[in-house]
């Protein structure tokens, strides 16, 4: 590579792009600093208890964010549990088995799913998903397995499960399309090598995915998780917006982004406002940690995978 600086135009270009890059960094730092500054009153008042208490009482100015953190984590986890097998499975099918005429329509439709505004998902959730889940899944399950704490009734419809299912539909396109890209990077020779050694299609996929694609699929999963953690409108429309920590996934909950969107406009108390900003700060840190952990895991995975080949 030629060093920049030989040519004034190159130098100008380099400096300009550097400026943009630092601009992005500066924005992130500024955002963080502002969140910290605005949440200081709540941090001073509640300290670490903010993260582990579950009273959210704007009248008495008692604020604990645990219900929101819990709701966000549980609904996102449910979404991942449902979306990852579905997305990876369909990625394998589309790439390896599907006839040519099916590939394009399926990938087009899945990309279309990603383009639908989240409020539309929310409306669909209220009018279609909730009644179906309530009458055909939650009610029968509670009556048979209601003794398991995770499936305890009574059943209303809006619930952690509904939010998780809706989120899973929303993140499938992301995981699917990245997984397909990852599968497509596997060198043809490797696949043929497995087959020529007498391996079955299943063995080919298992070996190829196991050796080559796991890091990429993991990355796709984290991408989906990031989207699920921050999703606001669709979640708030189906989760029930109940600031409580309930073990049963059939019970309503709340989410961090949803709490901010719901209460910010009418929060007049300084402490209330500050507590809402602190939820934003926690969400910011949570996504930061998730991404950092993902980066780190990805690095070790890639290292291991490349050793294996």
């Amino acid at each position: 590579m030629r060093r920049a600086g030989d040519n004034p135009k190159d130098l100008l270009f380099e400096k300009t792009t550097a400026l943009f890059a630092f601009g992005v960094l500066f924005l992130a730092v500024l955002l963080f600093a502002l969140l910290v500054r605005e949440s200081l009153p709540a941090i001073r008042k509640f300290g670490a208890a903010f993260l582990v208490t579950k009273t959210w009482d704007p009248v008495a100015e008692q604020f604990g964010a645990l219900p929101f953190i819990y709701g966000t984590l549980v609904s996102s986890l449910i979404a991942l549990l449902l979306a990852v097998p579905l997305a990876v499975g369909s990625a394998i099918f589309i790439n390896e088995f599907a006839p040519e005429w099916l590939k394009n329509p399926v990938s087009f439709l899945s990309e279309l799913l990603a383009a639908i505004p989240s409020v539309i998902y929310g409306l669909w959730g209220i009018f279609v998903l909730l009644p179906v889940l309530r009458d055909y899944l939650m009610k029968p399950v509670t009556s048979w397995l209601g003794w398991i704490p995770f499936f305890k009734g009574p059943v209303y419809g809006p619930s952690l499960l509904a939010a998780g299912v809706l989120l899973s539909i929303m993140i499938i396109p992301f995981i699917l399309s990245v997984s397909r890209e990852v599968l497509a990077t596997v060198p043809r020779v490797q696949k043929e090598a497995v087959l020529s050694l007498g391996g079955t299609r299943w063995e080919m996929i298992r070996i190829v995915i196991g050796q080559h694609c796991i890091p990429g699929i993991f990355g796709a999963t984290v991408l989906g998780l990031g989207r699920a953690l921050g999703e606001t409108m669709a979640v708030t429309m189906v989760i029930g917006n109940r600031p409580d920590v309930l073990l049963s996934i059939f019970q309503p909950g709340h989410s961090m982004a949803g709490a901010i969107a719901n209460e910010f406009t009418e929060a007049t108390g300084d402490l209330h406002l500050s507590a809402l900003v602190e939820i934003g700060l926690v969400l910011f840190l949570l996504t930061f940690v998730v991404n950092l952990a993902a980066k780190w895991t990805l690095k070790t995975m890639v290292a291991r995978a490349s050793r294996g080949i």
Binding site: T55, W56, D57, P58, V59, A60, Q62, I126, F127, L130, P131, R134, P154, Y156, G157, P158, T236, M237, G240, N241, R242, P243, P252, H254, G258, A261, N262, E263, T265, E266, A267, T268
Partner: protein, 351 residues
């Protein structure tokens, strides 16, 4: 390359010239800005539209950002008037740079809507039953207390699914104000506010969110603005009022509540209409206010605002009912008229 640069310079100059030209045209017309409550927004936008039509050169810009936002903006002085469904609290008043006036403009009611198959509007509820439903103490629709006052109505053995607003809202303020007025237990344990710590229930965002829960969930009960309930033909409960009559929320029963409360209207109009006296009064009603400083900083704007408010109090009130807001009763209008005379610029009344 140079050509492109030159064209940018031309473009920038043109943009500058345009932006410099704008204030000159704006000076001919008067722009009055306001922000606040979403509940009266349809009424206000109708008022502003009609009034601007008959007063060319006067423009209103109202942002319906919510009552809390309206209070914040008028406190900071970034708008010419604010609007709120909840009267400003003593704490909030203390933060103001000067005395403020609460000008009531319309009356709204909050309806208790429910979803019970085969039961039409008018299911009877008493205040204490409503409180216990929202405390989670009454969990079945065929509870003997509900059945006791609804003889002849076949109540299902369904779970009561309680629903409330999840977003901060003046509607919630009126509703919890009512619950606090009729129950000391509610006042002590939950209290009143734009958002409160609900003992039970599902939260819906906005009137449409609560209506969504109520319509989609058999056995659900929730509170929505009367106008919203009427437009969406929701089934609503009849509440027992102070005199012991069961009253369905309508424009008439809302106006009756206002008339009942008018006698005791304080001079600053910061009054709640909940649980108002009168045999035809509906219980859960509230005023909505415009907020403006008594001492205006801009004579032209202050004068225009006062003239507009005079119009709104008399001609404007005729537009209330078609838009499903109850008009202010006569004695209140007269009282507001008097209050408007206080609005002044450098000590001189603008009325």
């Amino acid at each position: 390359m140079r050509k492109i640069f030159a064209s940018w310079v031309v473009f920038a100059c043109a943009a500058l010239a345009l932006s410099a030209g704008r204030p000159a045209t704006a000076a001919d017309s008067l722009n009055i800005t306001g922000a606040g409550a979403t509940f009266p927004y349809p009424l206000y936008s109708k008022w502003f539209y009609e009034y601007s039509n008959s007063h060319p050169g006067l423009k209103f810009n109202y942002q319906s950002i919510g009552s809390g936002g309206g209070v914040k903006q008028i406190t900071a002085g970034t708008v010419d008037f604010g609007a709120s469904d909840a009267p400003m609290t003593t704490d909030e008043l203390a933060k103001l740079p000067g005395p403020i006036l609460h000008i009531p403009t319309a009356i709204g009611a909050v309806a208790v809507a429910y979803n019970l198959k085969g039961i039409q509007s008018g299911l009877k509820l008493t205040p204490d039953i409503l409180v216990d439903i929202y405390f989670g103490k009454i969990t079945r629709w065929n509870d003997p207390r509900i059945a006791g006052i609804n003889p002849g109505t076949k109540l299902p053995a369904a779970d009561v699914v309680v629903s409330h607003r999840s977003d901060g809202s003046g509607t919630t303020d009126i509703f919890t104000n009512y619950l606090s007025a009729v129950s000391t237990e509610w006042r002590a344990k939950v209290g009143r506010g734009k958002s409160v710590n609900w003992p039970v229930g599902l939260g819906g965002k906005g009137n449409e969110g609560v209506a969504g829960v109520v319509k989609q969930t058999p056995g659900a009960v929730g509170y929505v603005e009367l106008a919203y309930a009427m437009q969406n033909k929701m089934t609503v409960a009849a509440l027992r009022n102070k005199e012991g009559n069961f009253i369905v929320p309508t424009l008439e029963s809302t106006s009756a509540a206002a008339a009942g409360a008018a006698k005791t209207m304080p001079d600053d109009f910061r009054m709640s209409l909940v649980d108002a006296p009168g045999k035809d009064s509906y219980g859960i009603c509230g005023l909505t206010w415009l907020l403006l400083y008594r001492d205006q900083r801009d004579e032209a704007k202050g004068k225009a605002l006062v003239t507009f408010l005079k119009w709104a109090l008399h001609d404007g009130q005729k537009m209330n009912a078609p838009l499903l807001y109850a008009p202010l009763p006569k004695p209140v209008v007269e009282k507001v008229d008097k209050a408007l005379r206080q609005i002044s610029f450098k000590g001189k009344s603008l009325y």
